[in-house]
Symmetry: C2
DNA sequence: TTGTAAGCGTTATCAC
DNA sequence: GTGATAACGCTTACAA
C-alpha cells in the first residue's frame, strides 16, 4: 500500500536489464527491440513506476521550466496573456512557474533568483519593474511582452498603427474634433505609440485635436471620478461631432456610462474608440469599437523567440544573439456600436 | 565570462570547509560561527554562486512545488483565484506550476502525471474535469475549490447563504414576483446551492417565484441572445415589481443592458442581483448589486488545508486525514444601484 | 562546530 | 542492443 518509490534500479532488477536500458526505454525507445520494450512497459506497470523528472533534470540539465513574471492577473489583458502562454504547453511541453510581480524591484529580484535556482531555461517578463538591462545581465533567454526591452528580445503590439487605425476611423466618421484620453505615459513605454499615432494622423488630416492626459489614481472609483470631470469638460465644448480615442476600453466604458446616464443612449455627436478588446468592450450597453491586440499571435511570437534562444543554449558552444530581436504585431480594428459602420 | 557552474564543492575548496558546512550555511546557519558565516558569504559572492534547488529536492524530497489546475483564466473569477493563490508565495514559499485544464479528462491526466513527475507536494484543483474520487486516488495532498469534492478536501462559497441573501434583499425591496435565472446546473455542483437558497427563501416568505433555466450556449453572443429572449418574456409579465436573482454578474449585466436600451434607465419595477462581484458588476452603467465570493478568504483556507496535508506527508509516519475536510466561506452582499438601498 | 561518505534517481560516456 | 560506471549538486546520518 504505502509503496516505496519505484526507481529505474527496481525496474532493472525486475526485468534483468540495466538502468541504462530502462532509461533508453524512455528517451530512445527505438534502440530497444519491440519485445524488450513490452517487457519493460509491463514491469513499469506492475511495479507502479512513477517518473522523477527532477532527477533527470539534475542529470541532463534540461528542466523544461520557463519562468513567467506578470504584474498582476487582475487585468484581463494579463490574464489572457497568461492564458495563452500556459496553453502552449500542449505544443512545446514547457512547464511554467508563475510569479506575480509586486512592483517592488527587490522582491522581483528574489523571484528571479528563485526561478534561477529552479533552473528555468527561459524567462517571460510582462512586469515593468526590472529594466531590460538588468534582465539581460542574468544571461538567460528572456522575452518581454509589451514593455521596455532595449536589451532583450521582445514582442509588442504595433501601438502606433493602433493609434492610426482608431484615429482614421474617427475621421472617416466625420468627427470634426478629435480627442485622445490617456494616463500619463512615459515615452519609452510601447503604449506611447498610441499617442503618436493619434497625433500624427490628426496632423496629417488636418483635424483639430486635443490630448487629455491625467493621473486617474489607483482605483476604479478614482478613475471614474476623473473621467467624470473630463466628461463634463467635454460636454461644455458644444455639440460638434467629437471623436474620442481612449487609451483602453475601461476608460471608454466609463465615459460611455456617463453619456448613457445623461442621454439615455449614445447621441450621434459622440463617437468612441477604445483599446485592448477587453471583455468590457463587448459587454458595455453599446458594445465598444476598439483596437484589439492579437494576444495569441503575440504569445506565439514570444515563444518562438524564447525557444530560439533556449535551443541555442543547449548547443555545445552557445552563440548568444548578437542583438536582441524585436517583433511587432499589428493590432486589429474591431468595429462595434460606438462608431458609425464604415469600411476602411 | 562563460563561468562554469559553481557548486558547494567549489565553495568548500575555496574556503577550506567541507560541502556539509556549506550546506549548513544555507539550511542551518546558526550552527556556524558568525565569522565562518561571513567567510562563506564572501566566497559565495566572489565565486558567483548560484543555488540549485533541484539538486536539493532530489536529496531531501521537498520540492516546494504545488500544482494548480484551472479550467481557464479567461473568466475573471478564475483569474482572481489564481492571482490570490500565486500571491501566497510571499507567505508560504511554495512555487506554483500552473496548468489550464482542457475539459478533456485524458489531457488533464497527463497534466497530473507531469506534475507528479516534478514531485509536487500538493495539488489545487479548480477544474471540474476529474472526479474527486480520481483525485483522491493519487494519494497526494489535494484541495479543490468550488467544485465537487466528495473524496478530497475542499473550499466552497456558502452558495445557499448567497441565494438567501440575494432573495431576502429582493423581498425587502418589496418585489412582488421573484425570478431566478440560471444555466442548467447539476445538483452536485456547489453552485446549485444558490438555487436552493432562492427557492427556500421564496417559499418561506410566501412570495410567488419562478426559476428560469436554460442552456445559454458556449459564447457571449449566444448568452446575449438567450437572455434577450428571457427579457422579452419577462417584459410581457406586466409591471408588478420584479426581483431577479441571476446566477452571475454577466447574465445580470446583459439583462440590464436590455433594460437600458429599452427604457434609457433602470425603471423601479426591476430590481436585479447578480453573483460573483466580478468587474462587470461595478463597471455596468448602473453598478450591479451582487453577492461577492470572498476569494482571498477561500484561497487562504485552501492553502491552510493543503499545508496541513503536506506537512503531514513530511512526517516519518504520515497519518492521512481520516476524512476530507470541507470548508465553506460566507459570501458578502454588495449593494449597489440595481436594488433599493436597504439595511439588512 | 565541523567533516566523511553514502545516498537521491536520473543520464552520459564509453565499452562490449 | 545492452551494460558499467561516473557524473549531476545537494542533504543527511554518523563521527569526531
Amino acid at each position: 500500500m504505502s509503496r516505496k518509490k519505484v526507481t529505474f534500479a527496481d525496474i532493472a532488477e525486475y526485468t534483468n536489464f540495466s538502468k541504462t536500458t530502462i532509461s533508453r526505454y524512455f528517451n530512445n525507445p527505438d534502440s530497444l527491440t519491440i519485445e524488450n520494450q513490452e517487457k519493460i512497459a509491463q514491469a513499469l506497470d506492475e511495479l507502479g513506476y512513477q517518473e522523477n523528472k527532477l532527477a533527470r533534470v539534475l542529470a541532463n540539465g534540461k528542466s523544461e521550466f520557463v519562468g513567467i513574471i506578470v504584474p498582476n492577473i487582475y487585468l484581463h489583458y494579463y490574464a489572457e496573456m497568461l492564458n495563452q502562454i500556459l496553453s502552449t504547453y500542449g505544443e512545446h511541453n514547457y512547464k511554467f512557474l508563475v510569479f506575480i510581480g509586486d512592483n517592488d524591484k527587490k522582491i522581483e529580484q528574489t523571484y528571479i533568483n528563485e526561478l534561477l535556482a529552479y533552473k528555468i531555461e527561459g524567462l517571460i517578463v510582462l512586469s515593468h519593474t526590472t529594466t531590460s538591462e538588468e534582465l539581460a545581465s542574468y544571461q538567460i533567454p528572456v522575452v518581454t511582452i509589451e514593455r521596455e526591452s532595449a536589451h532583450v528580445c521582445s514582442v509588442c503590439t504595433d501601438n502606433y498603427l493602433g493609434g492610426v487605425q482608431a484615429t482614421s476611423l474617427l475621421i472617416k466618421n466625420n468627427c470634426s474634433r478629435l480627442i485622445h484620453i490617456n494616463s500619463n505615459t512615459p515615452e519609452y513605454v510601447p503604449a506611447y505609440g498610441r499617442i503618436r499615432g493619434f497625433e500624427d494622423t490628426c496632423k496629417t488630416s488636418n483635424v483639430p485635436y486635443e490630448i487629455i492626459t491625467a493621473d486617474f489614481g489607483p482605483t476604479y472609483d478614482s478613475t471614474v471620478e476623473h473621467i467624470g470631470r473630463i466628461f463634463n469638460r467635454i460636454e461644455q465644448m458644444g455639440d460638434e461631432k467629437k471623436g474620442i480615442f481612449f487609451a483602453n476600453d475601461t476608460y471608454t466604458n466609463i465615459f460611455l456610462n456617463f453619456i448613457i446616464r445623461k442621454y439615455g443612449s449614445l447621441p450621434p455627436h459622440y463617437r468612441l474608440v477604445g483599446f485592448d478588446n477587453s471583455p468590457i468592450a463587448s459587454e458595455a450597453v453599446f458594445p465598444i469599437t476598439t483596437i484589439g491586440q492579437q494576444i495569441e499571435t503575440m504569445v506565439r511570437n514570444a515563444m518562438e523567440l524564447l525557444i530560439l534562444q533556449m535551443n541555442e543554449m543547449k548547443k555545445r558552444v552557445p552563440k548568444p544573439l548578437s542583438a536582441p530581436i524585436h517583433r511587432q504585431v499589428a493590432p486589429v480594428l474591431i468595429q462595434r456600436d460606438t462608431t458609425d459602420p464604415c469600411t476602411m
